[in-house]
Symmetry: C2
Subunit: 423 residues, 2 copies
């Protein structure tokens, strides 16, 4: 991959937000004898460098009632050496959709020897592991993991750690173009390669999102929701640096990846707010804006970390299945809520957000924007306890990779993940 | 890339047509210590194996009045180590579109150091080289290369040979997805790796071609034209083997690649017929069906060649710019014409083709299907003379790669193509 060096960045405390990086070649070739200058404004990331990150990366694919053809296409696009973690919340009644997914993926893995873990979000074994480890806030009143994509992502993240991976990336399961999925993963890898840090995050800004308009395709650049999130996040950053900025382009980036160490250390908002909250929370925790004693802020001893946010503009348009269930107004409100309710948010910005939502008749005057549920970071749980319990439930392989019923014995995943899956 | 071994093939004389191969992973990773069996039904082609073919491959991109954004996207998708040959037939009046293309590509190459040759189809220097080499049939009454995509492809092919490449592949310039272009090229490379032969051809069958139908996307598998070409080509093959077959799936494959040696040895039809004619002509020349003395047939001494046609089903849908100028009926007629006018075509098949075209009111009863213009193979020209003349005109580089005006001196391309383009 050949990718531009970021031309600018904003820094707040330990957080660096890098400007959008343009991709020039999807495949810039292998390591070569003719060395190019490392200080060039356009960086070549060799296939070997990309692959060495991929070998340490898990890709989490949240699935909910997706067509099997699309899921298979996404697996086709994920580079072989990534571990894939499919977290499904598909219904098991009246038709057991999860069983069909497992079967299709198992069949696919027979041909590819790809390492895939398939778990159901409502797996009682995983829920019991969360409970035993003391992370009960993610459980519902039936003691199972709550519904929601954010909850599936959290589950995928902890499993990525359990499987010993250093990086975790997210890819949606409804992408029509395996080549776009492939690009996202390579961009995650390129981002981590360029911005080496244990506290690194890579976020993708879609090149465009084709829409059917008047019976032809229109390649829209920004959705309404992204425009809103980015604008208000930039106001927030600008307020604290004193300089107006347009640095944030990925306030709503569903396609993102982060080091497992960072992923374990941050809080998560739920619903549509999860991606925007990354920015808000990182600034709260590592931005050195809140007072040192503030419990939203990291202890001074943690401020030496280099928290790096890369933003990369993908080259493929993002063409995903349109289920017609995108509630744009709800998405906007959820994203803005994370900013609104942050202690970083100045009164003037709060008023702007209120006015914006009132103008679009989302909020009535006098009503207040509801806060989003926030999960505290995963590093508060007893990971060893979680690992002991969950290991018995997880099975990974290019050959057999179904979720074992709770209670069944299975080899420890750490061993399974390193074994080559021979025929 | 991980790709299925062909499950079947049809053989006629020296020609083997392999069944459609499915792709399981776009990126199956690098060479690994854990060796997988070479005789597996699904083959892993490592990134190193793919790259070693790419280093010997030229990708020809015919351009005509294309939007610069789309051309750049196609270049983004072509792996770095391929030589790119852009053959443009864009107008130079009233706006010099070719100049704009050169400028955009030159700018792109400044960032990527990609090796790109840009020539205009009407370049008088190249035309003079064709004339001097005795290949005058490609010239029009102004002694310039004729209009037409096939003519641009022929020009690209001979330039690929001039630049010392072993393989030449074709990619359209109007593809919206760089990731799809990337996939096609990797599939060419995988096909050549698996079917090693100096007389090898790889043809892509699109996964699907999304169309806007009633304000949503429909992923059509086969166009009307492909269906027709494949059906009649299969009848032709079946007639000569005595077994009904569905082996041919790529009768109209615009995305295809072949060894330069094979490309130099075959005739070319023009217009919409070029791809279908590949099959007809290869069967005429190497199928051992026509009598040995027949001048369409290769001499007996050439029949030891292994002429291999691989067909690979791409995973990305093919989403290209819809200019609304596809004349499906003309495409069908042109494709069928190559079968109809072949001496391989039995009388019964000729009648079927006539009836088909009459039923669709393309041909009136009593009218005859017009034959397509056919260019004789490039190996009939004096290549050394062509090379001497054309070398002075061609310039390649990741830095400067404009077409030099005829008469200007330039270093020999063979040297330029191997030099690393240092800043």
């Amino acid at each position: 991959m050949r990718i531009e060096s970021p031309r600018e960045f904003e820094r707040l405390g330990a957080v660096r937000i890098y400007g959008l990086q343009k991709v020039y070649e999807l495949d810039a070739g292998p390591d070569s004898a003719t060395q190019e200058e490392e200080d060039s404004v356009v960086r070549r990331v060799s296939s070997e460098a990309i692959n060495s990150i991929e070998r340490q990366m898990a890709i989490v694919v949240p699935v909910r009632n997706e067509r099997l053809k699309l899921i298979e296409g996404v697996l086709v696009g994920i580079p072989h050496d990534c571990l894939v973690i499919v977290v499904s919340n598909s219904p098991r009644e009246p038709v057991d959709k999860f069983y069909l997914e497992q079967e299709a993926i198992k069949n696919y893995c027979r041909f590819t020897r790809k390492q895939v873990v398939v778990v159901h979000q409502k797996d009682p074994g995983i829920a019991a592991a969360f409970a035993a480890a003391g992370y009960t806030e993610i459980l519902d009143d039936k003691d199972l993991v709550r519904n929601g994509k954010a909850e599936g992502m959290i589950m995928g993240t902890i499993l990525a750690k359990l499987m010993g991976r250093k990086y975790v990336g997210f890819v949606d399961s409804d992408n029509y173009f395996p080549g776009a999925v492939n690009e996202y993963v390579k961009e995650y890898a390129a981002g981590f390669h360029i911005n080496q840090s244990d506290y690194s995050m890579v976020r993708i800004s879609w090149h465009s999102k084709p829409k059917v308009v008047e019976n032809s395709l229109y390649f829209a650049k920004w959705g309404r929701s992204s425009r809103h999130s980015n604008m208000f996040l930039n106001r927030l950053v600008g307020h604290h640096t004193g300089f107006e900025t347009e640095i944030v382009k990925t306030g709503n980036a569903g396609e993102h990846a982060l080091t497992v160490e960072l992923a374990m250390g941050i809080d998560y908002a739920t619903g549509y707010a999860v991606e925007t909250f990354h920015y808000v929370h990182l600034l709260e925790k590592y931005g050195a804006i809140l007072g040192e004693g503030d419990d939203a802020s990291a202890p001074a001893s943690d401020m030496h970390h280099k928290v790096k946010i890369s933003q990369i503009e993908s080259r493929n348009p993002h063409l995903h299945e349109s289920k017609g269930d995108e509630h744009v107004e709800d998405m906007i409100a959820a994203s803005l809520s994370t900013i609104y309710h942050s202690r970083l948010c100045p009164e003037s910005l709060r008023e702007e957000i209120e006015q914006d939502l009132q103008r679009r008749h989302y909020l009535k005057e006098g009503d207040q924007l509801a806060p989003m549920r926030v999960y505290k970071s995963l590093d508060r749980m007893d990971f060893n306890v979680f690992g002991d319990k969950a290991s018995a439930v997880i099975k990974v392989s290019g050959q057999t990779h179904t979720t074992v019923a709770p209670g069944a014995t299975a080899s420890a995943p750490a061993a399974a993940s390193t074994s080559s899956s021979s025929a």
